[in-house]
């Protein structure tokens, strides 16, 4: 029974494909999966927007949206209808073609990342040998669409927002890659399915997720920071800092194209969260051996929602960084920590089993964290803000 | 095309020629760099095609060459564009035809 529930979508797809001739099965199967992904994530996006607004409201001791439908759960429908029926305004001097293509390229590249994410046992669109590389290649392409959006709008705010976004995404992509490379080092594979399988064993009822190792934990923290910056989320939302740049690179977008940007941002969050849970949190694995009877896809989406909750929590807590703080943090804290973490992971690999490697690896990481952090704080590079006033 | 490899080679030659034409005819230094990038890419395509249809694909020679070439091209682009920006600061132009003085 649990087995069948676990594989319900796989079985369903095979059952549907059974009605088709042999030569059609592969392309139609791909199309079905793609349609499922394209349908599912916007739905999750809709749920997340209302949850985010309500969550941030609660954090600020407000109620959040509660007018449309019971408890405001139909708010995303109202927002969707609004943005679909709004006039699509293109600035007169804008580069019409590039302006039109930017949101489409963003959404396409963001959705491409899901092709290699395993969303459950046997639930992956393509089990690519170089899956992680594919994911990062697609993630790198989003930068270009952001730039296209900002440049084609012929608006200073848009251009500034785009330049900030691109600079930020390039800086943090290095950290994102380096923190993921640790996992590749330990599993010896770029395939996300194999990475999940490498974590798929339990001892004393507890899973062997990579986050439960010193290097995995450090890498997860770096990954979370870099992922937040990569998706332009608060506190790294300078590209669309509304107090300075109106809305950043999508200032000149309205109606459906704006909705596409909004969708792209949230789907990118989902995909970063999904990759993070695949790499560090065991993907579709249950957190306890005793809970394995619950279907794997429930665990994957549960982890997705938990990490979205953390995104929202962080957004409700932290103020926006300044541009120099952002860059200093990327290059002077996250990058050295990631490089050190690579070394620590190698050390872990070669020290063999035993408690000693736990002590040594943890000590190195904690020492580095404290000393780099203290040094940075002393130089006021990423410490509390200090204000200089005009003389 | 008589066989698949020659198809890839012709495409690579075409892109190489386009890149060469761009590098030779455009005035802007960045466009010259773009032409050079295209030429490098055409060469990469050649390498990969030869690896794919070569006698010993398992040795990965062509593939490795292409990967190293990609890495070198990235470094080359960084340095080249840094130079263009530096020259632009001095000469206030990125037109290669106006960069005709030895003294900045």
């Amino acid at each position: 029974m649990t087995e069948r529930l676990d594989q319900i979508f796989v079985v369903l797809k095979h059952w549907l494909l059974g009605y088709l001739p042999e030569s059609w099965q592969t392309p139609v199967g791909v199309v079905i999966s793609v349609v499922c992904i394209i349908g599912l994530y916007p739905a999750l996006f809709a749920i997340t927007t209302v949850l985010e607004r309500k969550g941030v409201g609660r954090i600020q001791n407000r109620l959040g949206p509660n007018r449309v439908g019971p408890y405001g759960i139909l708010q995303p429908m109202a927002d969707g209808i609004k943005s679909l029926t709004k006039e699509d305004i293109v600035p007169t001097s804008a580069d019409a073609v590039v302006h039109f293509l930017a949101p489409i390229i963003l959404v396409v590249t963001v959705f491409m990342g899901f092709a290699v994410l395993p969303m459950g046992r046997n639930m992956v669109l393509v089990d690519m040998d170089a899956g992680l590389l594919f994911y990062f290649a697609m993630g790198a392409s989003t930068e270009l669409s952001v730039f296209m959006a900002g440049w084609s709008s012929r608006n200073k705010y848009s251009l500034l927002g785009a330049m900030r976004a691109v600079a930020q995404m390039i800086s943090y992509e290095v950290a994102l890659l380096l923190s993921s490379v640790v996992i590749v080092m330990m599993t010896g594979s770029l395939s996300l399915v194999k990475i999940v399988e490498a974590q798929n064993h339990y001892s004393y009822g507890l899973p062997h997720w990579f986050i439960f190792t010193p290097w995995g934990f450090a890498a997860f923290i770096m990954y979370a920071i870099a992922g937040t910056a990569e998706t332009n989320r608060s506190p790294f939302d300078l590209p669309e800092g509304e107090s300075e740049l109106v809305a950043g690179y999508h200032t000149e977008y309205s109606g459906f194209k704006f909705a596409l940007f909004f969708l792209g941002e949230y789907v990118a969050m989902f995909s970063i969260s999904g990759l993070g849970s695949t790499l560090f949190l065991g993907g579709w694995m249950a957190p306890f051996a005793a809970l394995q009877f619950i279907p794997s896809w429930i665990w994957f989406f549960g982890k997705l929602f938990v990490s979205m909750g953390v995104f929202i929590w962080v957004r409700g807590t932290l103020p926006r960084l300044r541009q120099d703080q952002l860059m200093n943090f990327a290059w002077k804290f996250v990058l050295p920590m990631c490089l050190l973490n690579l070394f620590v992971a190698a050390l872990w690999r070669f020290m063999g089993d035993g408690w000693l490697r736990w002590v040594v690896c943890s000590a190195i990481l904690i020492l580095a964290y404290v000393s780099i952090g203290r040094e940075g704080m002393r130089r006021k590079q990423f410490g509390p803000r200090s204000y200089r006033y005009a003389e | 095309m008589p066989n698949p490899l020659s198809g890839y080679l012709i495409v690579a030659a075409l892109i190489f020629a386009i890149g060469l034409a761009g590098a030779l005819t455009r005035r802007n230094a960045i466009m010259v760099l773009i032409g050079i990038e295209l030429m490098l890419n055409a060469a990469n395509l050649n390498l990969i095609a030869f690896w794919r249809y070569g006698p010993h694909p398992e040795l990965l020679t062509g593939m490795m060459f292409a990967i190293f070439s990609i890495a070198v091209a990235a470094a080359e682009a960084a340095v080249g564009l840094g130079l263009v920006i530096s020259i632009y600061r001095h000469a206030k132009t990125s037109d290669v035809e106006q960069m005709n003085r030895m003294k900045g």
């Binding site: 609660r58 409700g316 932290l318 404290v370 952090g373 940075g376 | -």
Partner: protein, 278 residues
């Protein structure tokens, strides 16, 4: 250590998040259409017309004196006087506004109309849900839309309304007393004692001026003082100059000046434009 501030902040927001489900006092918001915060007593928005009694048309205190229309800085009030008269709250026949429109898209809520009204007829409302889909007709309120009962006034500004009521009652009492005095004087005149009347009516008008510090109310006192005099004028013409010299005189002059200035300016304007041509 780096990051402890972040953890502290996260704990704080988590406390807020959980607390918002537990304690209602944390929530700072009021769910507006269903729940409302009580408005402060000094709240004001746009003017309304007060009426006494049940019939709004009959009970309007406004006598279409047009002072508010002239004083209104953005000129948002439009009054048309009636041809006939109806009795006001003291029972004296007065003209009433046949038309009283306020364009609340123009009104700037300065309350000057309220301050200058000698009859306590126009007051500030607190109603703010005035949105309409017709920005011309919908925001031009006529006298029916503007009329609110005195009870409503008590509801929104209790202190002010009771003060106004007390004042009106006092004036009414005085007017009645004066009418009585006038009647007595008439009776006395019948008994051939004409000099007794003047000091009596002056005594009625005089104490009011120092008590009401505001010049507007003083002017109103003069008006009210004048009213019975006019009522009795038919029978006794003498007290009128007596009351007129006593205090209302400079006020009425000022009123006239105020009233004239826009008219004068209007009259002068075409001349000024025409001069260079000549």
């Amino acid at each position: 250590m780096l990051g402890d501030g972040i953890l502290k902040g996260l704990a704080e927001t988590a406390k807020n998040f959980a607390g918002s489900f537990v304690s209602k006092e944390r929530m700072t918001t009021v769910e507006y259409p269903e729940e409302r915060l009580p408005l402060p007593e000094a709240a004001r928005n746009f003017p309304f017309l007060v009426y006494d009694g049940d019939d709004w048309e009959k009970g309007l205190r406004c006598v279409a004196c047009q002072i508010c229309e002239k004083e209104c800085p953005p000129k948002c009030i439009y009054i048309e006087k009636s041809k006939d008269k109806k009795p006001d709250y003291v029972g004296k026949p007065q003209i009433y506004p046949a038309k009283f429109d306020i364009d609340i898209s123009v009104c700037m809520s300065c309350q000057i109309c309220v301050e200058v009204c000698p009859f306590e007829a126009i007051k500030m409302n607190t109603e703010f849900e005035l949105a309409t889909d017709d920005r011309f007709g919908g925001l031009l309120l006529d006298r029916k839309q503007l009329a609110r009962s005195n009870e409503y006034y008590h509801e929104i500004h209790p202190t002010e309304a009771s003060e106004v009521d007390a004042r009106l009652a006092e004036e009414k009492a005085k007017v009645e007393a004066k009418a009585k005095a006038a009647a007595e004087a008439a009776a006395a005149k019948a008994a051939a004692a004409p000099s007794a009347n003047t000091p009596a009516s002056a005594a009625v008008a005089k104490p009011q001026a120092p008590v009401e510090a505001k010049p507007a109310t003083a002017g109103k006192a003069a008006e009210i003082a004048k009213a019975p005099a006019m009522a009795t004028a038919a029978s006794e013409p003498k007290p009128v100059p007596g009351t007129g010299t006593d205090g209302p005189a400079p006020l009425t002059a000022e009123d006239q000046k105020n009233a004239e200035t826009p008219a004068k300016a209007n009259a002068r304007e075409p001349k000024a434009q025409g001069e260079p041509k000549e």
